[in-house]
């Protein structure tokens, strides 16, 4: 077997679903500091391995826990049990352009967002032209980003994130907003990534693109891992499980 980039072992994540949430001091005191909640397991003993240099897809219906798993990977949530081990630097793209300041220009935001994603000023300066070039918003780079269209916003955010140069890139379904040209550009970028021996983990509801881009895939349903394996097989199994599905 090839080297492992990310190893996920028995990861479980619990959320508290509050019936009556104590978000004010008054209600906390009145109810004697007990808030009424029940536990909800968004992930249950999920475990799989992602080999270095592969493109890995995560599929499943809405609310199945895909984003939650990515957030655990990105260290935004911490799983209750289990462990995640990485081999290399990880960057996550859960929402493009988070951290953009609407009043600041595209240029200023590139520096801001780059440093939020962990780049040093020198790195950003070095990559600045590449970032602007990839995003295709040169003309507007000195405009405040609040005047950008949502597609331009995504383009700029994605360009910054992709230039962080991570060994492992984690992407939630954020590219849907870009136009066909940009999506093609991104798909190409993923291929380049792969050729450079980097690993990509992505979530998508578009089975065609998963089939096209990914080597392997994992199928989550209600927080449980149903199947992991070659992309084609996993997707077929997933599609077959859907009501009224013919073999697509």
């Amino acid at each position: 077997m090839s080297e492992i980039a990310v190893k996920i072992e028995d990861v479980s994540k619990k959320f508290r679903l509050y019936h009556e949430r104590n978000q004010s001091i008054k209600s906390a005191i009145m109810r004697g500091r007990r808030s009424v909640h029940e536990d909800f397991w968004a992930l249950k003993d999920v475990g799989f391995e992602v080999p270095v240099g592969s493109t890995f897809g995560l599929i499943g219906s809405n609310g199945s826990g895909k984003s939650t798993l990515l957030k655990c990977l990105a260290k935004i949530y911490y799983p209750e049990t289990g462990s995640i081990t990485y081999n290399g630097k990880i960057a996550a793209l859960l929402e493009v352009g988070s951290g953009f300041h609407p009043e600041l220009s595209g240029r200023e935001n590139i520096f801001l967002n780059g440093s939020i994603l962990g780049m040093s000023k020198k790195e950003i300066t070095g990559k600045f032209d590449e970032i602007v070039d990839f995003s295709g918003v040169e003309q507007f780079i000195d405009q405040p980003v609040k005047n950008y269209s949502s597609g331009m916003y995504v383009r700029l955010g994605f360009s910054v994130a992709i230039n962080v140069n991570p060994d492992i890139l984690v992407v939630d379904e954020v590219l849907a907003v870009g136009d066909t040209e940009f999506q093609a550009k991104c798909a190409q970028k993923f291929v380049d990534f792969k050729n450079e021996g980097r690993t990509v983990i992505l979530v998508s509801h578009s089975m065609e693109s998963v089939r096209e881009m990914c080597d392997s895939a994992a199928w989550l349903s209600h927080g449980e891992l149903i199947k992991v394996g070659p992309a084609d097989e996993t997707i077929d199994a997933y599609l077959r499980s859907l009501p009224g599905a013919s073999a697509a």
């Binding site: 978000q23 004010s24 001091i25 935004i76 911490y78 929402e95 600041l104 040093s120």
Partner: protein
């Protein structure tokens, strides 16, 4: 220690976030940075009118500087107070106002409250610069004391940061903390000798004598307030132009370190759960 290292590694991010605040603050305003002077000026005018001209509060003249101008005396205490109160209140809300970031990107969360210290501190520096100019024009000899003023400013920033860290966590779990704190801040301001001299409290305290038959006086209790010490040191340096009282100065340092240590400890313990609690 590992945590401190991580925080240190985020210093560039901290600088960038601070710049974001500073740059975004007065974008598309005509007067720009001058706005940061308007607030203290307005308060100065109101307090001077009410307390110096109507109520006739008379602080002692600066010794040895010989200054005897209420408005200047007031500013030496008011500017540090405004900084402190703004850092605590804005730093406290910094996690909540960056929900998008906290839930989508991993980074050392502590930079959010700390960036508020930076951006509010930037304005404060500007205000203090203007104050120094005013002091010089009024004939105070402040230059030799400026290094110590800067040290005290840093201590106050550390103290404020510590409180902001604690309250930022509390505010995520109990959203009404900020309303609570804004009331406390108002009361706290009047419990600190900013618009009136501490000699008024001393007089009353002497009249009353020891509390409950002990030797502890009202003044002793009053002086537990850390901000009283900070304001005293700032006035000794800026208004009186003399060495600060060593006890006051030492207490400032102790308060600052204590608040920051506790704040850091609390913040660090709860940092991981912040994204979910939002």
């Amino acid at each position: 220690m590992r945590y401190l290292k991580e925080v240190l590694e985020s210093r560039e991010l901290l600088a960038n976030l601070t710049l974001r605040e500073i740059r975004g603050q007065y974008k598309r305003t005509i007067f720009g940075q001058l706005w940061s002077l308007v607030n203290p000026l307005a308060s100065m005018l109101v307090y001077t009118l009410v307390f110096a001209l109507i109520i006739r509060v008379q602080p002692e003249a600066g010794d040895p500087s010989g200054l005897d101008i209420f408005a200047v005396w007031l500013l030496c205490g008011l500017l540090p107070w405004t900084f402190f109160s703004n850092v605590v209140q804005q730093g406290m809300g910094s996690i909540l106002s960056n929900v998008g970031l906290v839930q989508k990107v991993y980074f050392a969360r502590i930079v959010l409250p700390l960036s508020k210290v930076g951006s509010v501190g930037y304005n404060w520096l500007f205000e203090m610069g203007v104050l120094v100019v005013v002091l010089v024009i009024c004939g105070a000899f402040v230059w030799p004391w400026l290094p110590l003023v800067v040290v005290t400013m840093v201590l106050l920033a550390i103290f404020a940061a510590g409180l902001a860290l604690m309250l930022a966590v509390a505010n995520v779990h109990f959203r009404d903390t900020q309303y609570f704190v804004s009331i406390i801040m108002q009361i706290w301001m009047y419990l600190t000798p900013i618009i009136y001299p501490i000699s008024l409290v001393a007089t009353q305290s002497d009249k009353y004598g020891g509390l409950f038959g002990t030797t502890v006086t009202i003044l002793d209790v009053y002086r537990i307030n850390p901000l009283e010490r900070f304001v005293a040191v700032f006035r000794q340096l800026l208004y009186d132009n003399r060495w600060p009282d060593p006890q006051d100065f030492l207490l400032c340092a102790i308060w600052a370190l204590a608040a920051f240590t506790v704040g850091l400890w609390i913040f660090r313990r709860s940092e991981r759960g912040l994204a979910e609690a939002l």
